[in-house]
Structure formats: structure tokens, C-alpha cells
């Protein structure tokens, strides 16, 4: 950009014919880099909104946990930590495969891309399977607030029943919201995989895989917070 003398407006260099660049370039952008940049930035802004979205429930959780520690500890002890830990490892592995998928997309390597996307999807589905198994167990134990909350006395571990019910409200809501985001993520990755199979993902528009990857990693990070908050309090390892 050349600066002209004071008082004269800057001249804008003539825009290149936008469509000579690449068919992947959308018309509102000047070049592929701007498009990629905007896409990534947009996803980061969206993740900021997601942080605030989960933030509301996390805030409520922290407040009530400090008020009703014994009930929350009792509720936490009733969760299946082995399953929770397995879910944690599955998600971490899926983030790894996701990162590999993004790398493959960036390099333009189709087979690895499809492979890693599929692996991520499978791991995600495995996570959801474990989650719903846990929900089913809770249903069998009569620990679902509003539907069949009649806990056995031992599961209360001496804490007042209603505070355990409060914990279970948070448990279901937080993990449910997370599961919903996982389902959306799996859908997104499925679309990516289908597009990849049809050869629609090239070195130029790989960005959509990267943006999906950002979303997936975020959902993983949420679980990394959820797991200790929900499963690891309660002094089970005292």
C-alpha cells in the first residue's frame, strides 16, 4: 500500500479477478488466505460463545457444590469412575485422530484423511455408548431426578436426599449438554468424511476440516473439565 501525500485518499490496488483464483474461494473473500483466516477466527468466536454457554451451568455447579458439599460428594461417589475414565481416554484418543485428520487434509492425503475421520467418529460413538450405558445404570438405580428419583439409602451416604438430587440434576444436565454437542460434532465429522470420500476436500479448502477439528477439541476440553468436577470430588481416594 503506497502512502500518498497528506490529504489524498489511498488508492486501492485493483482487485484481481476473484474467480481466477480457485473454485473453492467464496465470492466475498479476496483470496483463499482471507477465507481460511476468517473461517478459523469465526470458529474461535463461536467457541467463545460456547464457553459462556457452559459457563452458566458451571457457575451454578460451583455455587451449589460449595453449599451442599456432602450431597455432591455422595452423588459423585455414586458415579462410575471406571466408565468415566474410559470415556476420558476415548475422547483424548479421538482428539489425536482428529488432529491427524486435519494434518492429512492439509497435506491433501485422502486416504489417511478418511481413515482418521472415521476413527474419530467411531471413538465419538463409543463415548456416547458409554455415556448412555451410564445413564441407563442410573435409571436402574432410581437416581434420575424428576423421573424416578428414589435412591437407596446407602447411595445417599448420609447426605440429605435433596442435595444428592441437586447433584444428579447437574450431572444429567451437564453431561447431557456435552453429549448433545458430541452428537452435533459426530454429525459434522460425518459430513466431512462424506465430502472427503467424494473428493471434495482439497489442499485449498481443507480449512473446513480444521474448523471442525477446533470444535471437536473444544468438546473434548469440556469433558476434561467435567470429569474431575463430577467424578473426582467426594474423597473416594482418601
Amino acid at each position: 500500500m503506497s502512502e500518498s501525500a497528506a490529504g489524498t485518499p489511498l488508492a486501492v490496488p485493483p482487485r484481481e479477478s476473484v474467480h481466477s483464483a480457485s473454485p473453492a474461494l467464496h465470492h466475498q473473500f479476496e483470496d483463499i488466505e482471507q477465507q481460511r483466516d476468517a473461517g478459523n477466527f469465526g470458529m474461535w468466536v463461536f467457541l467463545a460463545t460456547e464457553m459462556l454457554f457452559f459457563g452458566g451451568v458451571f457457575t451454578g455447579y460451583i455455587i451449589y457444590r460449595s453449599l451442599y458439599y456432602s450431597g455432591f460428594a455422595a452423588g459423585s461417589r455414586g458415579l462410575e469412575i471406571d466408565l468415566g475414565a474410559a470415556m476420558m481416554f476415548v475422547l483424548l484418543a479421538s482428539s489425536f485422530t482428529m488432529a491427524m485428520a486435519v494434518h492429512a487434509a492439509r497435506e491433501g492425503k485422502h486416504q489417511p484423511l478418511i481413515g482418521f475421520l472415521t476413527a474419530t467418529i467411531i471413538l465419538g460413538v463409543a463415548f456416547l455408548g458409554m455415556k448412555f450405558t451410564e445413564y441407563f445404570h442410573k435409571w436402574q438405580e432410581h437416581m434420575v431426578p424428576g423421573l424416578n428419583f428414589h435412591p437407596a439409602l446407602e447411595s445417599l451416604r448420609g447426605a440429605p436426599e435433596r442435595t444428592v438430587e441437586m447433584f444428579m440434576c447437574f450431572y444429567f444436565f451437564m453431561t447431557g449438554l456435552h453429549a448433545l454437542h458430541m452428537i452435533i460434532g459426530i454429525g459434522l465429522l460425518t459430513i466431512m468424511a462424506i465430502l472427503a470420500r467424494r473428493g471434495k476436500i482439497s489442499r485449498e479448502n481443507y480449512n473446513r476440516v480444521e474448523v471442525s477439528g477446533l470444535y471437536w477439541h473444544f468438546v473434548d476440553i469440556i469433558w476434561i473439565y467435567l470429569f474431575p468436577l463430577l467424578y473426582l470430588i467426594g474423597g473416594r481416594y482418601k
Binding site: 485518499p9 486501492v12 490496488p13 466475498q28 476468517a38 460463545t49 460456547e50 451454578g60 431426578p145 440429605p160
Partner: protein, 542 residues
């Protein structure tokens, strides 16, 4: 005055309105200008629905024992008035119409960063509005727009879930619009368009978008939790299991306070544009006005507790919230002083947009200063939940935001439609609105101080005179709002053709024909070294 260039007659030129025809070309458009018009139609409809409720309410309040409806219906009227006006009119008003139309043009871009997301925003808005209108038609909701628990979560039998769902869904529309604006302003400015060369309207849209993106998710969660509590009859706000109803208030106001800044900041941006154009001066204190938008956005996140001084929250929380609430007044004051100083030694003309802008400055000043009464702990105890609060926020939202919105619509109308409206009628309407507005809401300050509480369908007889005055004003205000509707629509067909720049304004949007072509600019726009170069000699440009 339009630039001294022969304009191609509108009829033979292709622009965004006639580029394609047919309902599909509108419902599946990704052109930000068409989407802006889709929004314009929808929010105007919502405005008149919400306004009709206001008219019914004011008619009812002529009599102390209530003149028109049963208390149950009255409760539904004020709830739906609040929900529709706030969420479906005010929040999207300037951002989704003027913002969508102008943001790309003002930065010299062809469209927003994510045009399809923009269209999705509109559809999400429509979905939300449908849920809310369903709630309205199927019998209404009577929670108050604030949905306080446990009333909303356990005690009411009306269509709370439908209404809450409507607001919840609509929130995503806001979030996506805000996201689009932030990315567009960051990444798609024309070469040479640095931050400090942007028009002030863009600074305020940017600040608004930050609030959209960070605050809206919290009300989504708050309302979602209320819905869950209604469905499962147990929840985190339920005292029966140790829940705290005041937690709902915190989550609700964490969004709803920044939300009111969502409603006023775009208006302030519009006023900056109007005052500069109609006094032919660059804004006094440009950088102060720009940064004050950001300051307002930031501080607004930390003052929500001033809605809760008597909620049972701790005194010390009150202390902090009160201090910060006083702080947030300062950037607004900075703007008012700078706008006034912009008029100094200007060349001022009084077309309708300017009348709206000047009305905004005066009424916003009064409304904002009455906010200090509410920021101050001792007076807020007396005034909270009385008509004083109603007067305060209507001064800002109606005397402020709606006037700015109308001013902006009138100012950019020639750009949007390619037609000029009749300025005589416009000025008359502005005057009627100004008079009607003050007559409606000024008496409410007094009612509030005298102790009349909000949301009362019946009231003690001693408050009747002020209520009748207010209702008289409301009828004038209602008529005032109908007038622009008529002449603006009329102008689309019969108004004189507008040139590219009928006001002689500065800004990239005026460097392109009216209505603009689909890609906004026929020639690459030239970014001036300084914005608002009114003092510089005009240069010819094609």
C-alpha cells in the same frame, strides 16, 4: 446534494433489488442487503404487535380499577409486550437491518464473512418468533419478560415453555449475527481501512457484537434450565431441593443487562453518523467516541446486580455493583458531550434524520441520568420495581434506541430503496413522536416516585391523573409511529429517485449508486485517509 455526476436511471440499472425476482430469490438469498430487508419486514411486524399490546395496556390503565381487561390478561399483555419488543424488535432492530445492510459496505467489502450463516440467522429469528407468537396466540404467557423463578418454573400454567423456547432460539440468531460482524470487521476491511479510519457506526456495531457473542449464551442457559425445571418438576432453582431462585436472577441479568447495551450502542453509532453528516463536520473526539463504545461493552458485563439490590443479595455485592453502574455512565456522557461539540461551528440542516438524532441526544441524556437514581443504592430501594424504572428504560429504549433506529432508517432509506421520502411529513412525524413520547413517559417518573409499582393491573385512585396523562401521550405516540410507515412505503413506488449521495455524506456506502449493485461496489472503493472528511474539498469520483 448528490454529486455532480449524471446518474443512470434506476429502471435500467441492475442492482440488488432487481437482480433476480421471485420469492425463492429472496428466501434463499445470501445477499446481506436482501437479508437486511427480510429482517426489516419481520421486525416491523413484531414492532406493531408489541406496540398494539402497549396501546391496550395504556387504554386499560385509564381507570384505577382497570378499564379494559382482567388482571390475568393484563399480566399477559405486559409480558408479551416486553418479550416481543425487547427480543424480537429492539435487539435485532439496528444490527440486523442497518447493520446487515451497511457493515460490508462501510468497510468496502462485497458481503459479510459468512453470508449463508447470515441467512440462517434470519431463519432462526423467524423460528424463535414463531414459537413466541404461538405462545401469544394460544393464550399468552404471564411470567413477566423477566421469567423470575419459582413463579415461572413451578407456579404458572401458561405457555411458558413455548415463549422461553422462542427467546432461546432467537438468541442463536443474535449470536450468529454478532459472530458474522466480528469476523467481517476484523478480517475483511478494504486495504487502507485501519481501525481508526472506520466510521463510528462500525465501532458501535463491533462493540455490540462482542456483547451479542458473550452475553447471549447465558440467557440461553438460564431459560433452558427453567424449561427443564418445568418439564421435570425439579431443578436447580427450586427451593424444595435447596435451589436458589436468586441464582436465576443472576444468570438472567448477566445477559439482560448487557442486552440493554446491545439495544443502545447501535443507536449511538447511528447518531454519530447522523450528527456528522447533518452538521457537515467530522465528529469531535472521534477516538473518544470509538473507545467509549468498547468501554461501555466491557463495563456492562459487571453491573448486572443493580437489578437485584433488594433481592436479598449481600450488601457488599450491592456496593460493588453500584460503583460499577456509576462507572458505566461515564462513557455515555463522553459521547453526549462529543456529539454536542460536533455541532459547534458546523453547518446544520434539519432534515428528519437529524431531528431524530437530536431528539435522541436530549432524551438519552435524561434517560441515562435517571439511571443514576437507580444506580444509587439508597434511592434504588425506593424506586425499584416502580414506574420510575419503566420511565427510565423507556426514555432510553424508545426515546433513545427507537428514535435512533427511525433516524437511521430515514437516513439510509435512499440508499436502500433508491427513493426519497417526503421530508415534510417525516419531520412532522418526528415531532409528533417526540411530543407523544414525552407526554407518555415523563409522568411515569412521578408515578414511580409516588410509589406506584410496576406490573399493576389496578392501582390506587390517587395515581389516576398521571396515568391518564400517560395514556393520552401513548395515543399520540401510536399515531406518530404509524405516519412513517405510510409515507415510507409510499415513497418506494412514488418517491423521487435518489442519487448515490442525496445528503452529501461521507462514507463508502455513499460512493456507490442507490440502490447498490449486488456486489456493493461497481468500482473498488477508495478508502479516505481520514474518515468524515467534510472539511476537505470534494473530489469527483465515478
Amino acid at each position: 446534494m448528490s454529486t455532480a455526476v449524471a446518474e443512470v436511471p434506476v429502471q435500467s440499472r441492475i442492482h440488488y433489488l432487481n437482480a433476480n425476482y421471485g420469492i425463492k430469490s429472496w428466501l434463499f438469498t445470501t445477499d446481506h442487503k436482501r437479508i437486511a430487508l427480510l429482517y426489516l419486514g419481520s421486525i416491523t411486524l413484531m414492532f406493531f404487535i408489541g406496540g398494539a399490546m402497549a396501546v391496550l395496556m395504556r387504554l386499560h390503565l385509564i381507570e384505577p380499577a382497570g378499564a379494559l381487561v382482567q388482571p390475568e390478561t393484563y399480566n399477559k399483555l405486559f409480558t408479551m409486550h416486553g418479550v416481543i419488543m425487547l427480543f424480537f424488535f429492539l435487539v435485532p432492530s439496528i444490527p440486523a437491518t442497518l447493520g446487515n445492510f451497511l457493515v460490508p459496505m462501510m468497510i468496502g467489502a462485497r458481503d459479510l464473512a459468512f453470508p449463508r450463516l447470515n441467512l440462517l440467522s434470519w431463519y432462526v429469528y423467524i423460528t424463535g418468533a414463531t414459537f413466541t407468537l404461538y405462545a401469544l396466540i394460544s393464550g399468552g404467557v404471564d411470567t413477566g419478560w423477566t421469567f423470575y423463578t419459582p413463579l415461572s418454573s413451578h407456579y404458572l400454567t401458561t405457555h411458558v415453555i413455548a415463549a422461553a423456547m422462542g427467546i432461546f432460539i432467537n438468541g442463536f440468531s443474535s449470536i450468529l449475527t454478532g459472530l458474522n460482524f466480528i469476523v467481517t470487521i476484523h478480517k475483511m476491511r478494504a486495504p487502507g481501512m485501519t481501525w481508526k479510519r472506520m466510521p463510528l457506526f462500525l465501532w458501535s456495531m463491533y462493540a455490540t457484537s462482542i456483547i451479542f457473542v458473550l452475553a447471549t449464551p447465558v440467557i440461553a442457559i438460564a431459560l433452558f434450565l427453567v424449561m427443564l425445571e418445568r418439564v421435570f418438576h425439579v431443578g436447580i432453582f427450586d427451593p424444595a431441593i435447596g435451589g436458589d431462585p436468586v441464582l436465576f436472577q443472576h444468570l438472567f441479568w448477566f445477559y439482560s443487562h448487557p442486552a440493554v447495551y446491545i439495544m443502545i450502542l447501535p443507536g449511538m453509532g447511528v447518531v454519530s453518523e447522523l450528527v456528522t453528516c447533518f452538521s457537515r463536520k467530522k465528529p469531535f473526539g472521534y477516538i473518544f467516541i470509538a473507545y467509549s463504545s468498547l468501554a461501555i461493552a466491557m463495563i456492562s458485563f459487571f453491573v448486572w446486580g443493580h437489578h437485584m439490590f433488594v433481592s436479598g443479595q449481600s450488601l457488599y455485592a450491592g456496593f460493588i455493583f453500584s460503583a460499577l453502574s456509576f462507572a458505566v455512565a461515564i462513557p455515555s456522557a463522553i459521547k453526549v458531550f462529543n456529539w454536542t461539540a460536533t455541532l459547534y461551528k458546523g453547518s446544520i440542516s434539519y432534515q428528519a434524520p437529524m431531528l431524530y438524532a437530536l431528539g435522541f441526544i436530549g432524551l438519552f441524556t435524561m434517560g441515562g441520568l435517571t439511571g443514576l437514581f437507580l444506580a444509587s443504592l439508597a434511592t434504588d430501594v425506593h424506586l425499584h420495581d416502580t414506574y420510575f424504572v419503566i420511565a427510565h428504560f423507556h426514555y432510553i429504549m424508545v426515546g433513545g434506541a427507537v428514535m435512533a433506529y427511525l433516524g437511521g432508517i430515514h437516513f439510509w432509506w435512499p440508499k436502500i430503496t433508491g427513493r426519497l421520502y417526503h421530508d415534510g411529513w417525516a419531520r412532522f412525524a418526528a415531532l409528533v413522536i417526540f411530543v407523544g413520547f414525552n407526554l407518555t413517559f415523563f409522568p411515569q417518573y412521578m408515578l414511580g416516585y409516588l410509589g406506584m409499582p410496576r406490573r399493576y393491573a389496578v392501582y390506587p385512585a390517587e395515581f389516576q391523573v398521571l396515568n391518564v396523562m400517560s395514556s393520552a401521550g401513548a395515543s399520540i405516540l401510536g399515531v406518530g409511529y404509524l405516519i412513517p410507515f405510510v409515507y415510507l412505503l409510499w415513497s418506494i413506488r412514488y418517491g423521487p429517485v435518489a442519487g448515490a449521495n442525496p445528503w452529501g455524506a461521507k462514507g463508502l456506502e455513499w460512493e456507490t449508486p442507490s440502490p447498490p449493485p449486488t456486489d456493493n461496489f461497481e468500482e473498488p472503493p477508495i478508502v479516505p485517509e481520514e474518515p468524515y472528511g467534510y472539511a476537505e474539498p470534494e473530489h469527483a469520483h465515478v
